[in-house]
Subunit: 523 residues, 2 copies
Amino acid sequence: MKGLGVTGGAGLAYGAMSTLGLAPAAAGPASFRPLAAGDLIGTVTGEHSVVVLGGGPAGLCAAYEMRKAGYDVTVIEARTRPGGRVWSIRNGTEETDLNGETQKCTFSDGHYYNLGATRIPQNHITLDYCHELGVEIQGFGNQNANAVVNYTDGPLAGQSTTYRAAKADTFGYVSELLQKATDRGALDDVLTPEDKDALAEFLSSFGDLSSDGRYVGSSRRGYDSEPGAGLNFGTEKAPHGMEDVIRSGLGRNFSFDFGYDQAMMMFTPVGGMDRIYYAFRDAIGMENIEFGAEVTAMKNVGDGVTVEYRQGGERKSITADYAVCTIPPNLIGRLDNNLPADVLDALKAARASSSGKLGVEYSRRWWETDERIYGGASNTDRDISQIMFPYDHYGADRGVVVAYYSSGTRQQAFESLTHRQRLAKALAEGAEIHGEKYTQDISSSFSGSWRRTRYSETAWASWKGASYSGTEATPEYEKLLDPVERIYFAGDHLSNAIAWQHGALTSARDVVTSIHQRVAKTA
Amino acid sequence: MKGLGVTGGAGLAYGAMSTLGLAPAAAGPASFRPLAAGDLIGTVTGEHSVVVLGGGPAGLCAAYEMRKAGYDVTVIEARTRPGGRVWSIRNGTEETDLNGETQKCTFSDGHYYNLGATRIPQNHITLDYCHELGVEIQGFGNQNANAVVNYTDGPLAGQSTTYRAAKADTFGYVSELLQKATDRGALDDVLTPEDKDALAEFLSSFGDLSSDGRYVGSSRRGYDSEPGAGLNFGTEKAPHGMEDVIRSGLGRNFSFDFGYDQAMMMFTPVGGMDRIYYAFRDAIGMENIEFGAEVTAMKNVGDGVTVEYRQGGERKSITADYAVCTIPPNLIGRLDNNLPADVLDALKAARASSSGKLGVEYSRRWWETDERIYGGASNTDRDISQIMFPYDHYGADRGVVVAYYSSGTRQQAFESLTHRQRLAKALAEGAEIHGEKYTQDISSSFSGSWRRTRYSETAWASWKGASYSGTEATPEYEKLLDPVERIYFAGDHLSNAIAWQHGALTSARDVVTSIHQRVAKTA
């Protein structure tokens, strides 16, 4: 990749418009501009090399962008595949976990699940990279009115209620209660008569209230027998009682998909989330990536960084002008390194966390045929936490259900188990929600726990002392935003979108920008 | 199609299990069972002929099921395409409407919109037919947090607010108000202290309330600047004020997708809704369907029904044992017929209604690149009612937006206009919602109004005096459920799912069952 023109003191020029059409329309040639979403990076002059440690989202994005700008880039990746924690499990996937157990996936052709990242919000830069790399996307069912909630506590313990019914009942009673309170004048100091009229109109619609302001059930809940033609009006399901609904906390998970990152529409690549990173790999070029290369040392050495690694039984090393280290923070301290003590301490503040999934291939799509659930997830307070239904192959004769996606202590209940034990526990809990059919027609299964997965040993970073207010950073986090001489850290752990690809990609872009600015200054 | 075995007084037997796998597992050979979802019909003995008037969902479903059962079937369809009001508009679509205007669609290859039915709920039998006929389906975006509401009344008149922000604010203030009322003891006669605790927990989560029970904004609303890596925390959008939110009725459309038929997940065939009816056509066989055949007469004639039609300038007629008439009720009275006066009166009670759409192809997917809207619809009280964004070709360089889908009086504001006038009005209203870009980068457009569409002249039936309670029928509706001698009426207008394919398909199945039972009795 060559520069298309150089001018100005910064030694940088924006290239000609990309054929991808994403370059800024009127970029000044003499001034540096940080990357914006989808921008091309300017092109560097001279020869500058970068070694990227890790071939997950952050590493591949950094490598891709630096290559666009004319850097000589080498990616060192321990695994034999790109994507890191973006990992689609399909026929042929084989892995030995840190419990010492080896699993080999035997799902039918075309069927898979994503053991890591599985959905993309509309606002995330991940979609821009799908666009730029030509990765086809499809809708991801992040909520489904026909999926169920089933909790083990409260008056409705152990009962499965569809989301549509749980929402109808909850919104119905909440509306009835607020209507009653305003009718009684309880909020007359807050609401004018005009406000009350407008609110009443909303509550009537929101809660599907009767003309006298009560919730007495709703067709929104669904039917015991489906309405059809002629005089087949169907039989509406009867509502739960108000106290049962409130005390059972049927609405405890409703706000999940109000979240900025979880609200529909959500998207995912056709064929698996890892398609994005195979596309990055192809764009970067296999000749610039070392797979199966386990880093053992990373050291600043005067005007460069030397990285040592093992590959195919050989010891190798590479020295480059800069390093972008995307190795998980919990693993960096194990490398032979010359990082300062305060940096090593800061890395320790990014604590490991637990998360994992188990995928079950069924030879019958009972969730579609028997329960009319096409995608989305059922929710529970059991250790499995949720059951995610496949968002592809609708109407096929088989499919892969994610029988749990849990994190924290709920995942810890699984991660030390053998796969067979995990499966048994997942099926037992799932059967309490979806019935005995949950344990039948199973072809095969595959599970993974990120804490027990080599080269990760964590699901995502949990920053010691972080407020999660989204408006401040811990000192350790801030410390790692600065390079250590010529070593730069990148990854979702250094973003405000931890556990999202967006976080990894924006972190990579920030680091690329920093290196690029530094090179420009010294050019 | 031949019978696979006959036994018992009813003269009917279920065939061998279908290769489609949808036959009942243990069907008694001697007793007739009405069709159930996805069942095969039993096979008839002897020769029995049926003429089906109309090649829309009801007509093609009836023909398909009767052919499965061994009847000799002929479909007479005025149009040169299958599907009726299921009509996908794509390159080459040409139509002269009842205003006398001819439009020819010049959308780019692969781009289209559905002028009629466009979405399928999970519970509808339409999905079973997709499955049975091998029609591939995909998710349909029926709601989108990034689409906007924009109303012309109230304190926020003319302002576009994303659904995510409108929901966050509305749910936030509703939760705050109810929390305040219960804190004041206004509902202590209805709620126990334990209920209040459980409700408070829900409201805190549902409304994203502060620890003191107030709504002070939420990240759910979205950001003015997107959060990213490092210290880029993003800038949360500030909430609207409580009175503004309540008085503006920002939540007036929230309950739309709580509806039984509108709740996500929703589906649609890949490539256009009409794919279902091309699949029906292929399964029925072109040799059994007369396209471009306009029915002029339908008469009971002793032991049969004679239908006259014009096709290619010729007058033709066909006599069959039975007729299934799926012609819209508003058009049947125009046929040369010998229907009794009370039936003709009953048909008049199914009054015509207005609905239509206008599709605009843009050469730039500004809704995705500029507004991060991938599918779903914006909502307004203007005549356009809603703007529907495409659910396919995500990330492509062009796409078709449905610039209005309105009905009733709002559609009447469009239906008498020329296409050019419709487009101008649609763009003017849409630009008030999505800005000037709404009027730019337009490649072509195509509109249709069902009231002005030949062979339909209505969007759907509006039954005079119907309560829409969903639990009772008008006398006229009931009258038409009975055959007139050997003429049977079918269509979504004779169902509890008017304007849905499910209504047409279940009505057709009911009629097929009725004819089949009658034949069985007389065999």
